[in-house]
């Protein structure tokens, strides 16, 4: 295994040190370390060292929609985005609702070698919202599932949600809820407000998200369970989570990069690239989720990376699929909206993109401190670079990035998974990863 010496890097953006990676762990840290003969030395003078990023919300599409993404292409994209672990959402075909399917996804992830892949288990059979899937079997499988979600659909029946919250306590699991009251959002196309009224697109009201979150935090309190709220998008949702935390309810919440920066005004051109669920909200909501992320009300940023084939976006708005890619732009968006604006430090970035998502997912070996003896799951970032996003050049198989043509701050220079480089000089280390498989 190659030994790496990261020369003069800045862990969490504070101070400068050399970091030696050997045998899968951080072997030494300090000034002027001597490079072993066979070591690859990386000049890190302008670089920030972060713990490898952990995404709690990724759609890898395999099995079933390999035309949009595969576990190989999706995790390679993740590595290029600085991630060392991703949670693969359950809405595959077949659904990840049995031990067999989650183990298959987990194994394919290991074979791919780009990041660790932790499958998310479906809460209900076929995401139908009616009958609990075999949560225990998935938890005890080789995939060791701890996060359960019907993402894409809401567990809307309050009794089913209550049972799920209670049941996963036995194995320290968490229910990650896609908060969307289905009756209030039948046929919904975009955020309900001034823009939807003008465009004549059926509205997705903020209350449809907030009502479910309010119900769920009360259910979680009542049964003493752990709840995670996926991709919250409204100012009202932030208020409810803030209130729930003040009551000591065991709830965590995530926001996507796109909800930190994009608004419903982008729907005006009817470009389906901006069609996403939950929908892009207003500038006021963007401000509220940034505030919530900065003050800790929102615990993490998760990508909700949702690749779709071209034909599903090359059509009229109503016919288009919901979703946008995000793995290769997430860190840049967080830097631009939160770090460059002075609202967060790199330590905060490590918390919301690595430490806390790893804790919520009960993932071992990720989101660890940067210290001698820790697993070498690490990401090197150059925050001073500006780059223009070109989806055709990304590793994800799909091109539905909402940031096409947009200039963003920062880029990932290198990613290490247990000491092995998956990305070096901003490019993926295809040979190393293939050899390591």
């Amino acid at each position: 295994m190659t030994t790496y010496l990261l020369r003069d890097v800045s862990p969490l953006g504070e101070g400068r040190t050399d970091v030696l990676l050997a045998n899968g762990v951080i072997a030494a840290m300090g000034e002027h370390l001597t490079a072993p003969d066979d070591a690859v030395v990386i000049d890190g003078r302008s670089l920030v060292l972060l713990p490898g990023l952990v995404d709690l919300h990724t759609h890898l599409r395999e099995p079933g929609r390999e035309d949009a993404e595969t576990i190989v292409t999706g995790t390679r994209a993740a590595a290029l985005g600085g991630f060392t672990a991703v949670h693969a959402m359950a809405n595959t075909t077949p659904t990840q609702d049995t031990a067999g399917v989650v183990e298959q996804v987990w194994r394919l992830g290991r074979q791919a070698g780009w990041t660790d892949v932790f499958p998310v288990g479906a809460v209900t059979v076929g995401l139908e919202g009616e009958r609990l899937a075999e949560l225990g079997a998935m938890a005890e499988s080789a995939a060791r599932v701890r996060v359960f979600s019907d993402d894409g659909k809401c567990v809307h029946d309050p009794v089913v949600m209550r049972r799920a919250l209670e049941y996963v306590k036995a194995f320290d699991g968490v229910i990650a809820q896609h908060a969307q009251e289905p009756r209030l959002t039948a046929g919904a196309q975009m955020h309900e407000g001034v823009v939807s009224a003008e465009l004549g697109l059926a509205g997705w009201p903020a209350v449809a998200e907030e009502a479910i979150i309010a119900r769920d935090v009360l259910l979680a309190e009542h049964v003493g369970s752990r709840l995670h709220v996926c991709h919250l998008s409204t100012a009202g949702s932030v208020e409810i989570i803030r209130w729930a935390k003040s009551r000591g309810i065991d709830v965590t919440a995530e926001v996507t990069p796109h909800h930190l920066v994009l608004t419903d005004e982008l729907a005006r051109g009817y470009a389906p690239l901006f069609k996403v669920n939950p929908p892009l909200r207003t500038q006021r909501d963007v401000e509220a989720v940034r505030e919530g992320l900065a003050d800790g009300t929102i615990d993490i940023v998760a990508t909700d990376h949702a690749p779709h084939p071209r034909e599903d976006k090359d059509c009229e708005w109503a016919a288009a699929a919901f979703g946008m890619t995000g793995l290769e732009t997430a860190l840049s968006v967080v830097q631009e909206t939160m770090v460059d604006t002075g609202r967060m430090t790199w330590t905060d970035v490590a918390r919301v993109l690595s430490t806390t998502p790893a804790r919520i997912g009960r993932v071992e070996g990720h989101g660890r401190p940067i210290a001698v003896g820790e697993p070498a799951n690490l990401t090197l970032v150059d925050p001073d670079v500006r780059r223009v996003i070109n989806p055709e050049q990304q590793a994800t198989k799909s091109v539905n990035s909402p940031f096409r043509g947009r200039e963003l701050s920062g880029c990932v220079v290198a990613t290490f998974l247990r000491g092995r480089a998956t990305v070096l000089d901003g490019s993926s280390c295809d040979e190393d990863v293939v050899v390591a498989r």
Partner: protein
Amino acid sequence: MRHLLSAADLTHADAVRILDTAGQMAATQAREIKKLPTLRGRTVVNLFFEDSTRTRISFETAAKRLSADVINFSAKGSSVSKGESLKDTALTLQAMGADAVVIRHQASGAPHTLASSGWTDGAVVNAGDGTHQHPTQALLDAYTLRRHLVGDRGRSDATGRDLAGLHVAIVGDVLHSRVARSNVDLLHTLGARVTLVAPPTLVPVGVEAWPAEVGYHLDEVIADGAPDAVMMLRVQRERMSSAGGGFFPSPLEYTRGYGLDAARLAALPEHAIVLHPGPMNRGLEISADAADSDRAVIVEQVANGVAVRMAVLYLLLAGETTTTRSTQ
């Protein structure tokens, strides 16, 4: 003007010019030989993804009166109903050399997508998209309003004039109405005051940004606002069912609150006219008394629709100098 996608894209000058041109077109339609050679050799495609016999034959008549070749392409019975995409349909029409594509689509924004995608070089005319816009309907309504209410209330030539000072009440299902959206935009551009009247369930969230007032009681709007015209929107009976959204309790209750009957007709100012984009639900949003009264200009709207659509096709395909703003 490259396309006509939304009434909101029309400047004051654009709108008045279209109405004036429509006036010239209407004059030719009083002649024995109605056909003009203007668009000879040009091809107009009527691309209808949604059934609408009235709008389609209006556009077809307009194009034919200008000597254009007309191709009717309707979703039913064509490859579109077999799952062909808007893109492939557009590419096919492009290959056949369409100079203008008149599109009716159930998805809001489909004409915009067609015009901005590069799938066709032709001029795109929005003939109604989802619950978004129906600009030629608003233009024919404005033309009808101007003919009756401007220029000494229709007794003298209104060419070059707008609708300044008029008050128009638009009554009914504003939420689902592309006619209402286009009319609010165009009437505002032309200087008219607009009041939307509907039960609150049929007014969109976000309406506060529209250049219009909102009233929930038709009788009050008639009594206090003395509108110069009332435009009755079609209300679909299925909207009252729970599956259709449960927007009002019953057709009878709707009619009591918002239907235009003889009593409300009598309460209107003497000169006020009644419009309806058709097809009417007699007995629901409009009674036979109102629909058949001499205040109703509903049949005339149909005739004016041909003149306005002739004007739009003429200006898009043959208009040489243009003072209008491109929508692209």
